[in-house]
Amino acid sequence: MSQVGIDISRVDALEKTLGIAKYGADLPISNPLYLKVVRSPRPHAKILRIDTDEAMRVQGIKRVFTAKDIPGKNLVGTIHKDQPVLAQDRVRYVGDAVALVCAETLESAEEASKRVNVTYKDLPPVFDPEEALKIDSPLIHEKGNLLLEFQVVKGDIQRGFKEADLVIENTYTTSWVDHTYLEPDAGVAYFDEEGRITVVCPTQNVHYDQREVASVLSLPLDQVRVIQSATGGGFGGRLDITVQCFLALVVFHLRRPVKILYSREEVFQVTSKRHPLKIRYKSGAKKDGTLTAVEVDILGDTGAYASYGSTVAIRSAIHATGPYYIPHVKVRSRMAYTNNSWSGAMRGFGVPQIAFAHESQMDLLASVLKIDPIEIRLKNALQTGSSTATGQTLTASVGVGETLLKIKDQWNRLNQMKRDSEKPFIKRGIGVASMWYGIGNTGIANPSTAQIEIDPEGAIRLFTGVADIGQGSDTVLLQLASESMGVPLEEIRLIRADTAYTTDAGATSASRQTYISGNAILHAIKNLKQEAVKEASQLLGIDEKDLFYENGKVKSRLCLTTSIPLKEVVRRSGKILRGEGYFDPETTALDPKTGQGVPYATYAFATHLAEVEVDIETGKVKVKRVIACHDVGKAIHPKNVMGQIIGGVVMGMGFALMEEYIPGKLTSFVNYLIPTSKDIPEIIPMIVEEREPTGPYGAKGVGEPALIPSAPAILNALADAIGERIFRLPANLERVLEAIQKSKQR
């Protein structure tokens, strides 16, 4: 192995370090029109009138667009198309787009946007998902406020609890979280040289964007082109449409280049959030710690629009058991519409929320049963051959036990160390948490495609629709290609995330690109090799079956010295050789009543150990150290994997301790706090490689798993420190102090 499992310089790093990478706001465009969106200040209202007269008198104004200017379908959405580009006749949350102002300068656009006078008639709003599901609740969408109900049923839940010696039940609540990708949404659009409406912006999926833009404009796909600009983070927040349709709509009507820039406040207000979940969790276990049953009820708030709400409902239900074998399972998961900010995909799709619940429960069981937290997890951990809650038998690459064993040494060492601080008001605690995470979309086809070609001059081009949003897929996919082709990485030119040149690779989400698109690329290369063998066979006059491809050459099986370099093959044949690649993980649809089936082809596993110090007089929590052990199948680029783990731990720490978005409130970086360099613990990443036989060189995924055990490990450490558990995230100053006061009253 020369190119896989090594830390090469990332291919995108040089341009980023020089400041020449072009993000959405940096894209060069001459003489553009500027856009500004007029947004609803009301959570739920009918639009009676949109008066643009005053706006049209602002100097430099070009036009104000409203829903009636949309030539195609005025609804977008990743799964359910229920979100208007511009509000049709009603608004459903504070921030809904009502009109789009277009002017010669940004100043004019901003000024005019304040002079669009919208007359609303308020409708009764609903902000609580439980209220929203009541029979007399105001309807947010005509089809009703229940977006989806999903169940996982396995075994006999009654029997499971009857067999238990201990049953523990609690309710866990999580908050809205903002992705806080550092680059505010921005972009440009224009007609390209072939007359296509071309949108360039940060995104996680150019092909989805292309389909939505075409549908909104009622244009054939080939008249719309979407190109991913350098993208300053995503974390799921750029899976949905942000600025794409606005930009395209104006180019469509005015046939001029356009530009849009969101302010940070606007990003907070109008982009998706992590779903707040309320989780009622009941666990049963025998005296020896063996889990017998779990019954879970999940209620989520998807806000005004569906986005990935159903995915979050389904994924949190499937993962509700945690990485443990449990014979009797019953999960009900519901997702409700409200007039809150809309929730969507965010790193983990509901699994970070559910992991907070199942890992708190594991510690509670362990504590009552007086079993070591690691031992109770090891006792129940999934293994090769285990059956999951959806009845899937895991056949390989089940590394949760291995991650627990690696953490166990550290745990024992820390447990023996003196735990008290010199400061009387500081209490120390340690905690562990494990997780599992299914790679790829849930129980549906989610293929990726790719092409590779080599021309007679020997130039190699790899085409992929994969959007690198900072996680490093450009580098990893090139490593896979280089390794598989046996040519140096520098010789392969990557063409990516431009719908004019690349085909659909699916979204950069669900930790799927290394596994799924990596496999698609390997498949393309396999086909290219066959083409090379075919050509070489003619050139050499040797039968195809006697030739094989190795290390950039076609070689003869019969004669060790007979070989022809790939470049020689194309040079002499004068042809462009191509390989088409396709990969779709093997999954099955899930039974609609019981959720039984194979939702994912493979799972990633991890265990984190967190050490915290709690100031019992102020409720301030300092995370001192996190040891994060991840089974990734195979680390193609270990430093990238570690970067994902470290970044995930810190994002999980924010989720655990400080991040809470409140819909309808003006939010900026002043009141929405994410960890700074002074808040971070020492993080020790550890990699376990339980090879996934279907993965590229054994790889699975790590992007989302990195975050998932972080918050529950911190919350378990916090409970260890103060002797009281917190059931609502974030565990901010007030909640921690309240728990401390409660523990003192005991």
Binding site: K620, T676, S677, K678, D679, L737, Q741
Partner: protein, 289 residues
């Protein structure tokens, strides 16, 4: 996007006073701009003219005169934090300003700006209050000295007239026998507004251990920055033992409630301000000064 305005850069105090007199409410003074530019951006302020006072030599001076320390209104937080003079004679101020915002903010934000912004959470204010600081205010009408405590009217509002400039703050060199403490609590370690802060200056009886004098100021828990005179009076002449400090801490939380009323946050703030106060006193007792 910031709307347009004119920009004046007076080179002398006189020139600045004249300009401010001419424009009055239509003008705003800019020093570092770390608060002002945000207000311009969100259009909560729309001045016609900005008057940049950082080119006036007097505003950029830090000096000692007759046992008094003078810090020009245009001195940045970084300059204060790194000043040996302030470290020696007003360490409580160095400690506080070195925790303001971020290094970037401290490099341009000024002490004058921090004061006139009059935020209940302004970090430089509690330490200045325990240093018994005065502000020198100038305008076309002349120069006057105002006790800092009288500068604050309500949250984000000072008693300054629109045409007045905060020239400097001044305080007596803190005598070497006086010890200080500063404790700040925020929701995160870097770049966060203070949730609460306490500054202490403490003088113990020579020979004995009783408290000769204690000055206590709190930040972010009252509408305007305050000295906690009830607790100061109570502690005078007492030993700084656990019991007295406990009682004093109750006087502080009572004063907070008296001035701010009972709020949803009170159940949190009450025990915490008591604890932070005791911590600040302990820090003062343990520290050199």
């Amino acid at each position: 996007m910031i709307p347009p305005f004119e920009y004046k850069t007076p080179k002398t105090l006189q020139e600045a006073c004249d300009l401010l007199w001419d424009y009055k409410e239509r003008a705003k003074v800019i020093a570092g701009g770390t608060d002002l530019v945000i207000a311009l951006r969100n259009e909560s302020l729309r001045p016609e003219v900005l008057i940049d006072i950082t080119h006036i030599p007097e505003l950029r001076m830090m000096r000692v005169e007759n046992g008094m320390i003078f810090i020009g209104g245009g001195i940045t937080h970084s300059e204060i934090a790194s000043s040996p003079l302030i470290h020696q004679y007003g360490k409580v101020l160095s400690d506080a300003v070195s925790e303001i915002g971020s290094p970037q903010i401290r490099n341009i934000g000024t002490i004058g700006g921090n004061i006139v912004n009059a935020s209940p959470a302004g970090d430089s204010i509690p330490p200045l209050l325990v240093l018994d600081a005065f502000a020198t205010v100038v305008s076309i009408e002349g120069k006057k000295e105002v006790s800092l405590i009288h500068l604050f009217e309500s949250p984000y509002k000072t008693t300054l007239k629109p045409y007045e400039i905060l020239l400097n703050v001044q305080f007596k060199k803190l005598p070497s026998r006086m010890r200080t403490g500063f404790v700040r609590l925020a929701r995160r370690e870097g770049m966060a507004i203070a949730r609460m802060s306490v500054a202490i200056a403490l003088d113990l009886e020579s020979g004995g251990n009783r408290i000769n004098e204690i000055r206590i100021a709190v930040g972010a828990i009252t509408p305007t920055p305050q000295r906690m005179s009830e607790a100061e009076e109570f502690l005078k002449g007492r030993l700084p033992d656990e019991e007295s400090l406990q009682k004093a801490s109750f006087l502080i939380s009572d004063a907070m409630i008296k001035r701010s009323g009972i709020r949803p946050s009170t159940s949190y703030k009450r025990p915490v301000i008591e604890a932070l106060f005791k911590r600040a006193v302990r820090q003062a007792l343990e520290g050199e000064r």
